[in-house]
Every structure is written in structure tokens, then in C-alpha cells.
């Protein structure tokens, strides 16, 4: 039915999401699965395998035909939610407001200390007059902004923020490990002191 897949438009592509389709590609192969999304820029189709563990991406330029299978079958709501949240963040939300307020104040002070203008706005923080916003729970990935340079700067600041000494924090994957973990030795002391004791003793023996 589709003569030119790439020119169908977002309305058509949007209508295809969550449907179970069979895609015929240029090499003659046929791929089946549920449509997760279609990229509007390249018309590439993202399919989730029926088994639910493999994802296939078919590039837009090589799509020959897309056929909807099981058109009359009702959308399984669980499947639908699964498709929608497939690639989203699965971090458990830290909903304790006390912790959030505390984290916010700590971050605010830290950013102030680094001479960057920041103020509180709503539930989050606003940096440099609105260029970057940091939302709760104030991890590096919770920064939002259009200016790449400022965004990067704020993310770095968050990553280098000293850990909260009073709180029992779980390992946050965004935080850098302290850099000098392995260097307990005094750098002035020569490292190989006392190591060369294994000189062959019996060289003089015949």
C-alpha cells in the first residue's frame, strides 16, 4: 500500500505506533514486531520483537512495505505501557521531600561557592538567570537547558559535589568516585624500598 514510506508523514507514522506490523526491507527479509516509534528525520522504524527482548531498527531508506498484522485485535494496555516506557529512565524516584529540600539547599550552596549565579525556583533550581534548570532529585541527568556549555558546567559541578557526610547515601552512578582512592602511599618514599632482596646468593658457587 505504501509506495514511499519516507514521505508518509508523522500523522501516519504516529498512527502505526504500538501496532503489530510486518516490515519488508530491501534485502527481502521480513521483520515482525510491535512498533515503538518511527523517527521523523530518517523514517527509521523501531520494532520490539514479539518475545519482548530484542529491538530491531529498520532504516527508513530500506523500508519497502509495512503491513499491519492483527488489525482487529485490541491493544493490550500492558503491552502499550511497556512500549511507551521501554527506553525511559527506570530509576526509582526519591520522593521524600525532606531529602529533596536538603539536597536542594546543599546543591545551592555548592553552586554559590563556585561563583555561579543560582536561585530557587519552584521545586528546583535555576542557574544563570534561567539558562539551566535543575529539577529534583538534583542528579547530573536532571539538568535541563539549551546552552550546552552552561549545561556541561552545571553537570560537572553536580558530579564534583562533595558527598553528604550526614546522610547514608546509596551509590549514585552519576557521582564520580573520589580520585585518589589508590594512592595512599607517601609519594616521597621510593616505592621499591627494600624490594631487591632476592639477589641470587649463590653466584660464586661452582
Amino acid at each position: 500500500m505504501q509506495t514511499d514510506w519516507s514521505s508518509l508523514g508523522p500523522a501516519h507514522w504516529s498512527a502505526l505506533t504500538h501496532k503489530h506490523v510486518s516490515v519488508r526491507a530491501d534485502n527481502g527479509h521480513e521483520l515482525r514486531g510491535h512498533v515503538v516509534t518511527v523517527d521523523p528525520v530518517s523514517a527509521s522504524l523501531v520494532l520490539l520483537d514479539s518475545g519482548g527482548s530484542k529491538v530491531h531498527v529498520v532504516l527508513g531508506h530500506s523500508v519497502k512495505q509495512v503491513q499491519i498484522q492483527d488489525q482487529d485485535q485490541d491493544q493490550d494496555p500492558e503491552q502499550k505501557t511497556r512500549l511507551e516506557t521501554l527506553f525511559t529512565d527506570s530509576d526509582p524516584a526519591q520522593n521524600q521531600s525532606l531529602d529533596l529540600d536538603r539536597a536542594r539547599t546543599r546543591l545551592l550552596d555548592w553552586i554559590h561557592l563556585n561563583r555561579v549565579p543560582v536561585e530557587v525556583q519552584g521545586a528546583g533550581l535555576v542557574v544563570a538567570g534561567g539558562v539551566v534548570t535543575v529539577n529534583p532529585p538534583f542528579r547530573a541527568k536532571d539538568c535541563v537547558g539549551l546552552n550546552q556549555v552552561v549545561l556541561d558546567r552545571v553537570q560537572r559541578l553536580i558530579r564534583n559535589q562533595p558527598r553528604d557526610p550526614d546522610q547514608d547515601l546509596d551509590q549514585d552512578p552519576d557521582q564520580d568516585q573520589p580520585r585518589d582512592q589508590g594512592q595512599d602511599q607517601d609519594p616521597d618514599q621510593p616505592r621499591d624500598q627494600g624490594r631487591h632482596i632476592d639477589q641470587p646468593q649463590d653466584q660464586s658457587q661452582p
Binding site: V46, S62, L86
Partner: protein, 130 residues
């Protein structure tokens, strides 16, 4: 005999213009490889509300696609290319127009390429495990 040892010279493709955001619709690369107009069901008498709706749909579709790309990062991905070529590599990134894929440890019949750039026009499909 004094032999001059040949020196390996590696020339990488020129990177994006450092002064732009990386997406330049006037760049020769974009004009040559991408469509000159974005696909839409646009007609001259379309009302702005419908245009708005279409743009929202486009944004939603694109966001999901970008998240899919994000989740692919650092995973082993299998590329099915033309001429029945199938290779496997660790996915790095794609460029904004989905024209090239940057991969590492590309397994080819002649060995493993540490870093490689795969043109999307050569790829038919790619697949990975969640």
C-alpha cells in the same frame, strides 16, 4: 641501505563546524544527503492548529527514537547491511540526521576495527538485545 620507513597517516573525516550547533541545513552534506524539506502533510491551506498537532506528534516520535538510541549506547549491536553483510559492533552514537553511526570494536571478516564510522545508507537494519 638506508630504507625510509613508511609512516602511517590517518586522516579522519572533517568534523562538524565548531561554531554551529552541529545541525546546519545549508551545509553541503545535509543538502546532498537529506531531504531539502521536512516531510509533512503540509498544504498551503492547512490551519495552524493542525500544523501544531503534527509538530507535537513529530516531537513525540523523535523523542522516543532518541531514547532508543541512548539505550543502545555501549551495547553490542548487529548491523544487517547490503550484499548480505552482517557485522557486529559496540554502538557508540549516531549523528543528528541519522547518516552515520559511530561504533567501536567492529568485527569484520578481516579483523576487528577498533573505531569505525558506518554510513547509514549502507545499513538495512540493526538489532540489539534489551
Amino acid at each position: 641501505m638506508n630504507m625510509m620507513r613508511p609512516v602511517h597517516v590517518m586522516r579522519l573525516p572533517r568534523g562538524p563546524d565548531p561554531h554551529s550547533r552541529g545541525f546546519d541545513p545549508q551545509s553541503p552534506r545535509f543538502i546532498a544527503l537529506c531531504r531539502t524539506s521536512i516531510v509533512s502533510s503540509l498544504t498551503s491551506d492547512m490551519d495552524p492548529e493542525e500544523l501544531q498537532r503534527e509538530q507535537v506528534m513529530r516531537a513525540e516520535l523523535r523523542e522516543r527514537f532518541l531514547r532508543c538510541l541512548l539505550s543502545m549506547a555501549n551495547k553490542r549491536v548487529r548491523f544487517n547491511m547490503y550484499e548480505n553483510v552482517k557485522v557486529e559492533a559496540t554502538f557508540g552514537a549516531s549523528d543528528i540526521d541519522v547518516l552515520n553511526f559511530q561504533v567501536t570494536d567492529l568485527q569484520t571478516p578481516i579483523g576487528i576495527q577498533k573505531e569505525a564510522l558506518i554510513r547509514s545508507q549502507d545499513v538495512i537494519s540493526l538489532s540489539f538485545d534489551l
